[in-house]
């Protein structure tokens, strides 16, 4: 008995020694120390539980972070333009079929190797063939008939037919040809290089000192994965993280003194997507009735405190060139009209429907709840069904077994095609079963035209087609609120879903 008591006393001593002795270590991770060391902690709500290979990564959250590590021949700017990156200059032949890229001299990969034309060829070929499992095929590359490297620093791409948007797809990451550990230890050419990933904990990036362009300001960035909403707030207030993107309105309002909130857009088409292949949504009148019944501004006011930009088709305002503001109010809130349309379609007393929502996206759940409330006014009883993300992907997205769902659809690159192609009847990702011959014809026409103005006009017609046929009940592009610790500057928003760290710096 005595021995045991002695052991306990010892243990307590050791513990308290550990607690008091090592409390104030010199390397404490605090905002002040990070500022001195020119380092930054960024909170993200989603782990990079994905392949880190940019040709395989699927999750928007992964691409958002790895944007800082990879570059293509060209890269996007915050304004939505494309500027040369690994390529220094390029020329397009008069027949719009031959693209010649002259590579920048001395661009280095993070492993120290110099980028050659071979690496560029390998990277494009890899995405065109997609024979390696997991590599996602870039459909636009199927038009490539020849891929030549006349010398070390020239790449010539020949297309079968003109494709106006082809250049946008060359943001496709350039990777070293003879490197096979991209999945877990990615190597690119971006302003930051990948250092480490600890599952469900953190991702560390460091400034790449041999970067060809304007070097990043910060020397090290640690992404901390924090899923719990309360913990996010706690981490910001305690000083564990300095920056957090995609906050909710409530969170942003709770932040208090030490932070500024930068407001951008999420660049998502948030809508109640309707299964056009299922009753009752196979009837255009029913879909239109829903569009009249749902008050988008009401949704934005009630669930998002007024933050968010209403939209009327599958295009968001940040794509200014393609966005048609006149579609936003095509269906002004009108319950009487909605009821009339329902009666005409044979549902004078309304009907019951299910809205399937992934349970891990609170903004979409909130939206669905407000919509359900609004639909009551026209006699439609909408029941929310919350499902796991995995189930959503399997049943709703891949299986198309659903009535309606609230979700945000993003664009994988800066083309209208990225948002509009999915609604052509043959698209494998046309999860709403939209089938419209006119729409398909317009899309084919858009692809065939290499005159930018003509193509843009056709894309706008396609957007109008989606609106007129009430393909979905379009709601908004959500506001992206970024909490930034005071003293930090350089947050930049893009028309696509990325978090650019290269311009972030401590002021003064």
């Amino acid at each position: 008995m005595k021995k045991r008591i002695l052991a306990l006393v010892l243990l307590v001593c050791v513990l308290s020694a550990a607690l008091t002795g090592c409390g104030g270590g010199s390397k404490e991770d605090s905002p002040e120390n990070r500022k001195t060391a020119n380092e930054l902690n960024v909170g993200i709500a989603q782990d990079l539980d994905d392949s880190l290979d940019p040709h395989k990564a699927v999750a928007a959250g992964t691409k958002e972070v790895m944007f800082n590590v990879f570059e293509g021949l060209v890269k996007p700017t915050p304004e939505g333009d494309l500027v040369p990156a690994i390529a220094e200059t390029y020329t397009i032949s008069d027949d719009h079929l031959t693209y010649t890229f002259h590579l920048r001299q001395g661009v280095k990969f993070h492993n120290g190797d110099t980028v050659t034309a071979e690496d560029v060829k390998y990277s494009i070929q890899r995405c065109a063939d997609a024979t390696e499992t997991g590599v996602l095929q870039v459909a636009a590359f199927s038009a490539v008939t020849k891929l030549e490297t006349p010398d070390e620093s020239t790449v010539v791409i020949t297309l079968a037919e003109p494709a106006n948007e082809f250049l946008s797809y060359l943001t496709c990451a350039v990777l070293p040809a003879d490197y096979d550990r991209q999945d877990t230890a990615p190597v690119g050419t971006g302003p930051f290089r990948f250092v480490s990933r600890t599952a469900q904990d953190s991702i560390v990036l460091e400034r790449f000192d041999d970067y060809w362009g304007t070097p990043a300001q910060l020397s090290k960035v640690t992404f901390k994965i924090i899923e719990n909403a309360d913990t996010i707030m706690m981490s910001l207030q305690s000083g564990a993280v300095d920056l957090f993107a995609h906050l909710t309105i409530t969170q942003a309002e709770q932040l208090g003194e030490g932070f500024t909130v930068a407001e951008g857009t999420m660049n998502l088409v948030q809508a109640m997507y309707l299964n056009n292949g299922e009753k009752p949504f196979d009837d255009v009148r029913v879909r239109q009735a829903l569009c009249y019944a749902v008050d988008k501004q009401g949704v934005i006011d009630q669930a998002f405190d007024g933050y968010g930009s209403p939209i009327g088709s599958s295009m968001y305002p940040a794509f200014a060139k393609y966005f048609d503001p006149s579609l936003t109010d095509y269906y002004s809130h009108d319950t009487a009209r909605a009821k009339a349309l329902l009666a005409e379609a044979g549902y004078p007393d309304g009907f019951s429907m299910t809205i399937t929502v992934p349970s891990n996206y609170q903004p979409h759940i909130d939206t669905a709840q407000v919509i359900a409330q609004q639909l009551k006014d026209i006699g439609v009883t909408a029941e929310l069904q919350l499902v796991e993300w995995g189930t959503w992907l399997s049943d709703v997205y891949a299986g198309r077994q659903f009535q309606s769902t609230v979700i945000g659809v993003d664009a994988s690159n800066m083309t209208a095609r990225a948002l509009l192609e999915r609604f052509t009847s043959t698209a494998s990702n046309d999860f709403i079963n939209y089938e419209n011959a006119e729409y398909d014809a317009l899309f084919a026409q858009a692809q065939a035209s290499y005159d930018d103005a003509v193509q843009t006009a056709i894309y706008k017609q396609m957007e109008r087609n989606l609106t007129e046929n009430a393909a979905n009940v379009y709601i908004q592009d959500m506001a992206d609120l970024v909490a930034v610790r005071k003293g930090l500057e350089g947050v930049r928003f893009y028309p696509i879903y990325v978090l650019d760290l290269s311009a972030l710096r401590y002021a003064g």
């Binding site: 306990l8 243990l11 307590v12 513990l15 550990a18 607690l19 002795g21 090592c22 409390g23 270590g25 390397k27 404490e28 991770d29 605090s30 902690n41 909170g43 782990d47 539980d49 994905d50 392949s51 699927v58 999750a59 499992t133 997991g134 996602l136 999945d183 877990t184 990933r197 600890t198 599952a199 469900q200 904990d201 953190s202 901390k224 924090i226 899923e227 719990n228 309360d230 913990t231 706690m234 981490s235 207030q237 305690s238 000083g239 564990a240 993280v241 891990n360 796991e388 993300w389 995995g390 189930t391 992907l393 399997s394 049943d395 997205y397 891949a398 659809v409 494998s428 990702n429």
Partner: protein, 315 residues
């Protein structure tokens, strides 16, 4: 020795059954790893190709057999989501969860046993009444809420630690300090339960004849309580604590989230959502091992406290 062999057999059987059940459960729920990995880029062809690469197109029993064979040769496989060896992923997390659980357990034992004795000694008094009410309250408040409260008070207001900045076990002192706050959140409701249990077993033990005899022979109440009654009253409590040990791991899942601690709990939840079987299997086996181990420890300790319990098992 026979006892040890029996225990080992139980351990292996439990792990086999649990791992198979986990394996089978996955085939019942919708969504598979390939679909989730491909996300919104999934097409039937891509899913089929990836399923084939991952070996998901094989029958359940074949897959389980392959996993089992790997397990016994020390190969836990590669995580589907992270494409990293499973042990490399969960090894460090197992250590973190182990320390968190040990700290919580230590807190429970160190606080609840003396407190239980004191409560029993002064049963019926004003202090006991107040404590019973407080105890009820502690049991009712969920750990995650206590966790948020503790983070706010000690982290934001008092700056004793930095919520969200777990230093990692490499800086052991700071790490233990950080974990201690989470351990308190896990321990509070369980301390309350243990105290209540110990109090009532001591009280019922105090009614027994040997206690009356001891007191009538002139021993003082407190002395009898500590020397004789406590030993007898501890047996059910030790069994209960062993269960608690197993529960702590479950309880740590939520608390790890609140404190941002990179332990097994978060990993398990996420891996289930991602249908990342190799990781889930490994964690499930670790947990099963943990549960059986706690049970064994309880049996051994009870054997020391009450030699009568040893007769059945040990020879």
């Amino acid at each position: 020795m026979k006892y040890a062999a029996k225990r080992l057999l139980t351990l292996i059987l439990t792990m086999l059954v649990v791992s198979f059940l986990a394996f089978a459960a996955f085939s019942l729920i919708s969504g598979n790893a390939a679909e989730i990995m491909l996300g919104t880029q999934a097409t039937p062809e891509r899913v089929a190709a990836l399923e084939h690469e991952l070996g998901l197109d094989r029958p359940l029993l074949v897959r389980y057999g392959a996993w089992l064979a790997g397990f016994f040769t020390g190969d836990l496989g590669v995580s589907y989501s992270y494409r990293q060896p499973v042990w490399e992923l969960i090894g460090p997390k197992t250590a973190v969860t182990l320390w968190l659980s040990l700290l919580s357990f230590l807190l429970i034992v160190l606080v609840s046993i003396p407190l239980g004795v004191v409560c029993a000694r002064y049963a019926g008094g004003a202090l006991d009444g107040a404590h019973t009410a407080f105890n009820q309250f502690c049991m009712a408040v969920p750990s995650f809420f206590t966790g948020i409260l503790l983070s706010w008070l000690f982290g934001i207001v008092l700056h004793w630690f930095t919520p969200g900045a777990f230093p990692g076990l490499a800086r052991f002192g700071s790490a233990v300090k950080y974990l201690l706050f989470a351990a308190v959140a896990i321990a509070i409701p369980r301390i309350a339960m243990t105290v209540r249990m110990l109090r009532s077993t001591i009280l019922s033990e105090m009614q027994k004849d040997y206690v009356r005899t001891a007191i009538s022979r002139g021993n003082d109440r407190s002395g009898v309580l500590v020397r004789h009654v406590l030993k007898n009253a501890l047996v059910p409590v030790v069994t209960f604590l062993a269960q608690t040990m197993a529960e702590i791991v479950a309880g740590s899942i939520v608390v790890e989230q609140v404190f941002g601690i990179p332990g097994l709990g978060r990993m398990l939840v996420v891996s289930i959502a991602n249908r990342d079987y190799p990781v889930v299997q490994a964690i499930v086996v670790i947990l099963a091992f943990w549960v059986v181990l706690s049970g064994t420890a309880a049996d051994l300790i009870n054997g020391r406290i009450d030699p009568r319990l040893r007769l059945g098992g040990e020879t």
